[in-house]
Symmetry: C2
Subunit: 441 residues, 2 copies
């Protein structure tokens, strides 16, 4: 649960020693707890203060008490650099991208944000436009590896006309809430329209696997944001559930989601409560073993908990009316599902399956005002990862652009953004929460 | 160019020493030069000798003098395991996948192949089917990390009805030709139909950047396969071109592809020759520097050589009739374009752009009987990688499931498969040649 190297390297004697030995010194990230949830600033907006989001960014910055700048100054440390590359159609028009970052990148403050905005490549008029817009992703991934370890770098593709649907995403990406999300493309489309609400106040949220780790962090964040959380976990986790109930006042539900009648009884419960606004499929297990040694029950249990049960619950709740309008579903996938992992053929299958499930369900559910997305955590500091042998744990922790593991709160923040009623333009996506892990597919 | 650790670890004293010290001992891969280009064998076909490709595989194996088996035997070392998971629609039906590999995986011979066949997820009838088919990718990536270092593991999605278009791909994936390709999904669709020819005999092939490294390997392989190669490079590489001409009898073309009239003069030349069957966009440069230090000419040159010029040549040749029917275009992208890389914001942009270009052009060109694909090399042993500082080079070499760098011939083999007239069902894809590098997106 605790990263002693990170603490040590940032202590007095540790800082001296790591410096003298040339060892890496990852900077502790600043999250909501340290830096609040508001926009970073000041923002430098390129090119030349223009771009199709300039007005929105100006308003968001103003509301957060931050300034926007149209021209680079050597005397300013910027909290965020934002470049709108939406109009790049070929290499010549991409020169502005180079000039902006060549000049400004050293002016980003510690814990700052870098954001490149593009047009979804497939919406460009011709092959040159699609090529350069797709190329931005390679550019951003490179910048994320070059930037200092406390700086997150984001690529945001916004469909033409969907600028108004991007606010909640801009607020996430340009704030401490996205501290451990970096170096990947995120898309905003038209999605679910006509939503006035932002934030989770009064929303009814179901969190599975809520008793500890990432599930507990999700529960705590939604409660702090004013949601009415129903914390679900197996009967064996009743102690953790009771603690949540006592500490946070949440309602709890002891249920084995793999029981034959689980989906139906969850639906009955949901209908009695008036339905859920948000369902977070967080419950999951690992039973690691190479396939040659894996036992049938290890294969079957992982499939049942991680895939079959949450798919059945999703279907039953949606078809049975257990959802309220403008619903949000977020599943917890995994970097293992993206990249595969030794000893996790069962787990990786179940988590990769959610990439397919989200892709299929997103366009179907959007007609009912529901979005569905997934998060894919990398190395997160939990009891689960604390049990990993030291050397492997250290490798997992350091092999990312931040040089450290993430916190359960980082996953929770990402889920809260996706589940926001104002995030209706974000649908069918799989967002990594991994500090730009080197690992991938 | 030479991997001394690999050589040492596989020598007498080196083998003893690495064993005693617990150091990794990657096995030298067996390629065409060591093991021929034919099918591995015997093949174990699951489930129970059935599957929609059983007849085709039986025929291909027979033609290569190999046997197929329908039932696992503890006494056989299999050259290849093939499991058809096309009909998996949920976790219950995926149990067969577990049982097959749980039993058989230890029976794969060194340098063997593992192949899982699936249905393209988006073609499944419902969300459960799409989920499990997409999940296969996570399963295969995990198996590729578990398998011994000389074994390549492949995931092949074949559209229903496209089985007949899969032969050239099966021959590639189940042979020494795919030694350094592993752990990723490859797709076969209907694509370009009605092609009788297989192999490159008599085909006219343009290779850019042909004078050395990967380009030279491509040239040598196509010549060995009976193609008429035109080897193109800049005037400064005339020595390498002359050597190719003298050694292989290829025609050569000294041309700067970034010259303003390059595309037009290439078209004129192509028309004079009767057009090309195959164009390989291999020419590329790196000019690495962090964006803060990068000079404008470093940004511009990389864009011009790697992106703008080959896009212009593609357009000019296609529109000008410089292609013959059943044409093939293959571009060399890069793992940098997929994952990004420190100091390569220019290169990564240009190489990621080809992922977009290929996606856009594939459905357009297929109407003219042309396919376009890309390969994305990981760490390949060339003069370019030999210039990388030792520690970084060693990390790049070892951070993949094979524990070693690839050879230029591995990239050439992959290109030759994609460029085969019989590979018309493979279109719009980006195939990594990286030994399942850990690095990814």
């Amino acid at each position: 649960m605790s990263d002693r190297y990170l603490d040590f390297a940032n202590s007095g004697v540790g800082g001296w020693l790591t410096g003298a030995l040339g060892l890496p010194r990852p900077a502790p990230l600043q999250r909501r707890a340290e830096a609040g949830a508001g926009l970073v600033g000041p923002l430098l907006l390129g090119p030349d203060g223009n771009g199709r989001l300039a007005a929105i960014l100006g308003r968001l910055a103003g509301a957060a008490g931050q300034k926007t700048h149209a021209a680079w100054s050597p005397d300013v440390r910027y909290g965020g650099l934002v470049f709108d590359a939406s109009n790049c159609v070929d290499a010549a028009s991409a020169q502005g991208l180079y000039r902006f970052f060549h000049q400004a990148i050293r002016s980003v403050a510690e814990h700052g944000r870098i954001l490149v905005i593009g047009t979804p490549p497939e919406l460009m008029a011709d092959v040159g436009g699609e090529a350069i817009q797709r190329g931005l992703e390679g550019f951003v991934r490179s910048l994320a590896k070059e930037a200092r370890r406390s700086i997150a770098v984001h690529m945001l593709y916004i469909a033409p006309g969907a600028e108004g649907a991007a606010e909640s995403t801009l607020e996430f990406l340009l704030s401490p809430r996205s501290a451990y999300v970096s170096g990947q493309p995120i898309r905003v489309g038209a999605g679910v329209a006509g939503v006035d609400q932002a934030g989770h106040k009064g929303r009814r949220v179901l969190v599975t696997g809520a008793s500890r780790g990432i599930g507990e962090a999700i529960t705590r964040l939604f409660v702090a944001e004013g949601a009415q959380v129903v914390a679900l976990d197996v009967a064996g986790a009743v102690e953790g559930l009771s603690a949540l109930k006592a500490g946070l006042g949440v309602e709890t539900l002891a249920l084995d989601i793999t029981a034959p009648d689980a989906a139906e009884s969850l639906l009955a419960d949901a209908l009695a409560r008036g339905g859920y606004d948000v369902v977070i499929h967080n419950a999951g297990i690992t039973l690691d073993r190479t396939i040659a040694r894996m036992e049938p029950r290890e294969w079957d249990s992982v499939m049942a908990v991680n895939l079959t049960a949450p798919l059945a619950i999703t279907r039953t709740l949606v078809e049975g009316g257990g959802r309220r309008p403008n619903g949000r579903i977020v599943a917890v996938s995994s970097l293992s599902g993206i990249a595969g992992n030794m000893g996790q053929s069962n787990y990786a299958l179940s988590k990769a399956a959610w990439i397919g499930a989200v892709r299929r369900l997103a366009p179907q559910l959007v007609e009912q005002g529901i979005t569905i997305n997934a998060v894919a955590p990398g190395f997160i500091e939990t009891q689960m990862t604390a049990a990993i042998p030291f050397a492997i744990r250290e490798a997992g922790r350091r092999m990312n652009s931040m040089g450290q593991g993430g916190h359960p709160a980082d996953v929770a923040e990402t889920i809260a953004w996706l589940a926001d009623p104002a995030s209706g333009g974000v649908n069918g996506q799989v967002v990594r929460v991994c500090g730009q892990s080197l690992l991938g597919a």
